[in-house]
């Protein structure tokens, strides 16, 4: 059996007195879509930053296929096959749409130009491929950031609130792409999402965090009915 592409063991990350992530241990199953939920301030994005190497944990380790990646730099982690998107749109605004995709193909082999064109067609951005990215509408910028992630098809993709600001039809396209990559190419997805429909309809497993700790883990049904999760979202 393959070792997990991402394993977090006893990770703690503090900002001053605040424990954003507190002694957290999780394991991401290969080839599955894992959802990460929790109220605002639960430490979800901090956990992503720790996995992606943007933040170094105060305690604990992060492993990828058994290799300790805790102290690697973000670009080294990306080159190991762990890609990410950000909560806020982070495209390269003064690059054209096409350039944004091609720069993301930096680590990829194969016909990258063809792949970029396919993605632009899929997301309806083909007519704007020579425009600067900051000339796109917010919705299209979000689509571009998604397309860039798909262009950079790592083994594990950390997607931070991917569907926020995307209209329902575009959301369907994105989720179809994710399922296709997951089922046909064995990619692994770890997604933070506030839209519970997306979590419940698309995730194989869900992890719930609150105050930096894992409060529940399991199938969608198990987490949905977990008392601690209900309490975290709705109070007592």
């Amino acid at each position: 059996m393959q070792r997990p592409i991402c394993e977090v063991t006893n990770v703690t990350k503090c900002f001053g007195q605040l424990r954003a992530v507190n002694d957290l241990s999780i394991s991401i199953e290969n080839g599955k879509i894992t959802g990460l939920i929790g109220p605002n301030g639960a430490g979800k994005t901090t956990l992503f930053n720790v996995i992606a190497g943007v933040l170094k944990p105060d305690k604990g380790k992060v492993f990828s296929r058994g290799r300790d990646i805790t102290n690697l730099k973000p670009y080294q982690i990306a080159r190991m096959g762990i890609g990410r998107t950000w909560q806020l749109i982070r495209i390269f605004p003064k690059m054209t749409v096409m350039e944004n995709l091609m720069i993301a193909a930096n680590l990829k082999t194969g016909n990258t130009h063809k792949k970029a064109i396919e993605l632009l067609e899929l997301f309806g951005l083909i007519d704007q491929k020579t425009n600067y990215a900051d000339e796109l509408s917010i919705g299209h910028q979000k689509m571009l950031s998604v397309a860039r992630t798909l262009m950079f098809d790592s083994e594990l993709m950390l997607l931070d609130e991917l569907a926020a600001g995307v209209d329902p039809s575009e959301e369907v396209v994105i989720m179809q792409q994710i399922h296709e990559l997951c089922e046909q190419r064995g990619k692994t997805f770890f997604i933070i999402e506030h839209d519970m429909d997306i979590i419940m309809n698309h995730c194989d497993k869900v992890i719930c965090m609150n105050f930096g700790q894992k409060i529940a883990e399991g199938s969608c049904e198990e987490v949905k009915n977990n008392e601690k999760v209900i309490e975290a979202y709705f109070g007592t």
């Binding site: 992606a52 943007v54 730099k73 973000p74 670009y75 990306a78 080159r79 890609g83 990410r84 950000w86 982070r90 495209i91 390269f92 605004p93 003064k94 690059m95 054209t96 096409m98 350039e99 091609m102 720069i103 993301a104 193909a105 930096n106 680590l107 990829k108 082999t109 194969g110 016909n111 990258t112 130009h113 491929k129 020579t130 425009n131 600067y132 860039r148 950079f152």
Partner: protein, 331 residues
Amino acid sequence: MKFTRKYKIKQVTSEKIGSSDKKSWPYAIALIPISFLIALPYISSPYVISVCFMLYVYTGYSVGWNIMSGLTGYVNFGYSLFIGIAAYTSVLLIIDLGVWWPIGWFLGGVSAAIVAIILGSFMLRLRGSYFAIGMLALLLGIKLLYSSKYLAPLTRGGSGFPFIEPLNLTTMYYALLFLTVLLVFISHKIITSNFGSKLIAIREDEEGAESIGINATSNKITAFALSAFFGGVISSGHIAFQNYIEPESAFNILLTIVPIVMVLLGGPGTIWGPVLGATILTFVEEFLWSYFITTYMMIYGIIMVLLVLLMPGGIIDWLKNRGTLPKTRAI
């Protein structure tokens, strides 16, 4: 693994960014003024040759500064540090050791690049205004070092020394013209390359660039060294024209500020922006200086403020936004 790596690089560089970047028409257009500039020493006065010489010097500095700061967004206020170091290296090699001047100029650039690699390894950990101020502080510190008694056996201290390199004005003119054209050509290759894309990605969003596997530190240091090398080679020619070297003029902060203004006017991060900015400002300054000797700096300042307000991204960006120029990086 080695094969895969080579394959990846080939893929990206051959398929990057779209076909418009591979057009060579800017070179064809550039051939017309270059032909004229080649003929210039035969048809004009030494004064015109001197003005054009300074045009090449400032174009070279601007192109060099643009490679680092225009592409990565790390504003280098210590550029004259490299200019000064290269100037001293080349003069000492040529005058004291009798090195052939082209080799001396080249080694001047190499010395600046080596210093850039050393400084860049820690200075490029700083960002934004911290980097800018840090470079400025280093410039002042190294200028003091070159004026001090510790380096006086080499530099002859703060008062400097006169020298004559074994080449005349026409030779210097052609050497600088050749170097400027070469640097613009190399700049074109860099900006339209995969390396150039990485530098622009770093400028746009450094964390985002790292998240797609770009090693920001090594790319920044490479750009820093190239930028210093460009400035250093040009500086070696510039100092040969002056026939006198002393720390105050070799490390003059105006040699940083003027190229910055030129790049901002023409268009940072573009190929032809620095060339355009340097051309316009060299001739405008010369004109104003000739006709408004007491007020030319004030008029010059007003023109600069207006241009920056009206065209914040520079002339090239303004023309691209108007649709006059295509939005390709090959301009």
